[in-house]
C-alpha cells in the first residue's frame, strides 16, 4: 500500500523520540485528545531550558555560552533562511548579519522568556531589511525551492518523495507571503503557533488562522494537480 511505504520512509526522518515504529504507531496509538494544545516533548522542553540558560549567561558576558548558543541555534536559522532564500551565499550573509544584530540586541531579551521566538523575530527583521536592500539593487528573492530538497540516498525513493513534495512546494508558491512564512516557521523552526505568534508580533489565534487557511489552500491546489485516480481514491477520505 502506498501509504505504508511512505510511512516507513517518513518514520526514518522523524526525531528518535517520535519514531516508535510504524507498526506500533498504526496499531497502538497513544490516546492524545485531538483538542489538547500541543505539549512540548521532554527533549524539546530541555532544549528550551538550555537556550534560556545560555542566553542568561550570554547576557552575563560568558563567551562559551555565546558560542554554544550559536552552535545550537545557527542550524535552525540556516534552514529558515535557506527555505526563503535559495542561495547559500546569501544565507551566509544573512546569518552573519543576524548574529551581529542578536549580539547588539542581547539586552532586549528578557530572562526566562522563550529564546527561539526572540532570535527568529530578529532573523525575520534582518531578512526584511536585506530584501529591501536587494530589491533596491534590482535583485529578486527566489522561492522556497530548497525547502523540499531531499537528502535521501536512494535515488528512486528520493525522486518519488521529491515529486510528492514538489506538488506541495508548487502549491505553497501560490500562497500569500504571510501564510507561507507561517508554514515555513512551523515546519522549519519547530516552534508552536504561540511561539510563531511571538516571533511575528502577532497573536496565536491569527497564526493558527493563517496556517489553517494555508493548509486549505494547499489542499485545494493539490486537488487540482493530482491525477484522476488519486482524486478518486481521495473521495473517501475528505
Amino acid at each position: 500500500m502506498q501509504w505504508t511505504a511512505s510511512w516507513d520512509e517518513t518514520q526514518k526522518m522523524v526525531p528518535r523520540e517520535m519514531a516508535a515504529g510504524p507498526a506500533s504507531a498504526m496499531t497502538d496509538p497513544p490516546a492524545i485528545p485531538a483538542s489538547e494544545p500541543p505539549a512540548a516533548s521532554t527533549e524539546q522542553s530541555a532544549q528550551r531550558e538550555l537556550l534560556i540558560e545560555l542566553m542568561k549567561r550570554y547576557q552575563d558576558a560568558d563567551a562559551s555560552a555565546a558560542d554554544e548558543l550559536f552552535r545550537q541555534v545557527n542550524p535552525v536559522l540556516a534552514r529558515y533562511y535557506y527555505s526563503l532564500v535559495n542561495q547559500p551565499g546569501q544565507v551566509e550573509d544573512l546569518l552573519q548579519e543576524c548574529w551581529l544584530r542578536v549580539h547588539r540586541a542581547r539586552q532586549s531579551y528578557r530572562p526566562g522568556e522563550p529564546v527561539l521566538p526572540w532570535i527568529v523575530a530578529i532573523a525575520r527583521h534582518t531578512r526584511v531589511d536585506h530584501f529591501r536592500r536587494w530589491q533596491r539593487s534590482s535583485g529578486r528573492e527566489s522561492s522556497i525551492d530548497a525547502l523540499t530538497r531531499h537528502p535521501s540516498t536512494d535515488p528512486r525513493k528520493a525522486l518519488d518523495s521529491r515529486q510528492r513534495a514538489d506538488a506541495v512546494r508548487k502549491a505553497m508558491e501560490t500562497l500569500p507571503e504571510g501564510q507561507r512564512e507561517v508554514l515555513i516557521m512551523l515546519k522549519v523552526t519547530g516552534m508552536t503557533a504561540a511561539e510563531v505568534a511571538r516571533a511575528t508580533g502577532s497573536t496565536a489565534a491569527a497564526v493558527k488562522q493563517k496556517a489553517f487557511r494555508a493548509y486549505q489552500a494547499i489542499r485545494q491546489a493539490l486537488k487540482m494537480r493530482m491525477e484522476p485516480e488519486e482524486n478518486r481514491d481521495d473521495l473517501q477520505g475528505s
Binding site: T10, M13, I32, E92, W99, Q107, P117, A121, A146, A193
Partner: protein, 259 residues
C-alpha cells in the same frame, strides 16, 4: 477524522509525526491522498545549506570582541513607572513656568477623568512600546489602543466634560497652547526615545508612534494643568493638535529609521 480536523491540528503547530499517531488519523490517511502529501511534506527534513567554517569564526569574532555584561530591559511595571516619572518631570518643569491656573479651575470630575485618560494613555503606550522594542514578546495590549485613546478618546471626553463656546474664542491663545504643548511633547518624546533605544525594534514606525503617544499624553496633561481656557473647542483643536503632531512626528522619525 476529517481533512479539516487535520488542518486544525497542524495549524496549532503540532508536530506531524505526533499527529500521525493520534487516534483516527491513520485510517484517514489511508484514504486521503492530500492529507498524506501534506504530512509527508511536513515530515521531510528541511535542507541545511553547507556553511563555511569561517562563518562561525566571524560570528565568534563579533561576539567575543565586544562582550560585556548587559542589563536586560526592565519589566513592564518598571517601564510604566519610568514613563510616568518622565512625564511628571517634564510636566513639573512646564507647570513651574506657566503655573497651575487650569488645574485649580477644574471640577473633581473633570480633573479625575482628564488625568485618568492621560494616565491610561501613558501606561498603555509604555506597555505597547516595551513590547515593540523587545522582539519575540507576547502581544498583550493592541498597539493601536494608546493611539486610539489619545486621538479619539481625548476629543470625545473634552466634548462631554467642557462647554462649547463661540468659534472666535477657540482661536484665542491657541498658538501659545500649541507651542507649549509641543515643547512638552518634544521633551518627553526625546527622553523616552533615549530610553527606547536600548531595545531592538522590528518596526520603528510603530515604536515611534508609541513614543509620540507618550509625548502626546504628557502634552495634554501639562496643558490641562496650566491652561485656563476650559472650552471644548480649544481643548480639541489646540491641545489635541499637539498630541496628534507628537504621534505623527514619532511615526515619521521611526519610518526614517526603518529605511
Amino acid at each position: 477524522m476529517t481533512c479539516r480536523e487535520v488542518d486544525q491540528l497542524l495549524s496549532e503547530g503540532r508536530p506531524a509525526a505526533e499527529l500521525q499517531r493520534l487516534p483516527g488519523v491513520p485510517p484517514h490517511l489511508e484514504t486521503c491522498v492530500r492529507c498524506r502529501r501534506i504530512l509527508e511534506w511536513m515530515l521531510t527534513p528541511s535542507p541545511e545549506p553547507e556553511m563555511r567554517a569561517s562563518l562561525a569564526e566571524r560570528v565568534q569574532a563579533i561576539t567575543h570582541t565586544d562582550l560585556k555584561k548587559v542589563k536586560p530591559l526592565p519589566p513592564l511595571g518598571v517601564a510604566a513607572l519610568g514613563a510616568v516619572a518622565v512625564t511628571a518631570l517634564v510636566a513639573a518643569l512646564h507647570v513651574l513656568t506657566l503655573g497651575v491656573d487650569g488645574w485649580t479651575r477644574l471640577s473633581a470630575t473633570q480633573a479625575g477623568l482628564m488625568g485618568g485618560l492621560a494616565l491610561a494613555v501613558l501606561l498603555s503606550a509604555a506597555a505597547s512600546l516595551l513590547s515593540s522594542i523587545r522582539p519575540g514578546s507576547a502581544q498583550g495590549l493592541p498597539p493601536g489602543l494608546p493611539l486610539a485613546l489619545l486621538v479619539m478618546g481625548f476629543p470625545m471626553l473634552a466634548a462631554v466634560l467642557f462647554p462649547f463656546e463661540e468659534w472666535s474664542r477657540v482661536l484665542e491663545h491657541g498658538i501659545e497652547c500649541l507651542a507649549a504643548g509641543l515643547m512638552v511633547a518634544a521633551m518627553t518624546t526625546g527622553l523616552t526615545w533615549l530610553a527606547a533605544r536600548r531595545g531592538y525594534s522590528v518596526d520603528w514606525s510603530r515604536s515611534g508612534a508609541l513614543i509620540g503617544a507618550v509625548g502626546g499624553a504628557a502634552a495634554i496633561f501639562a496643558l490641562q494643568v496650566s491652561c485656563p481656557a476650559h472650552e471644548a473647542g480649544h481643548l480639541i483643536v489646540w491641545h489635541g493638535l499637539a498630541a496628534v503632531i507628537a504621534i505623527g512626528g514619532g511615526y515619521l522619525a521611526g519610518r526614517r529609521m526603518n529605511s
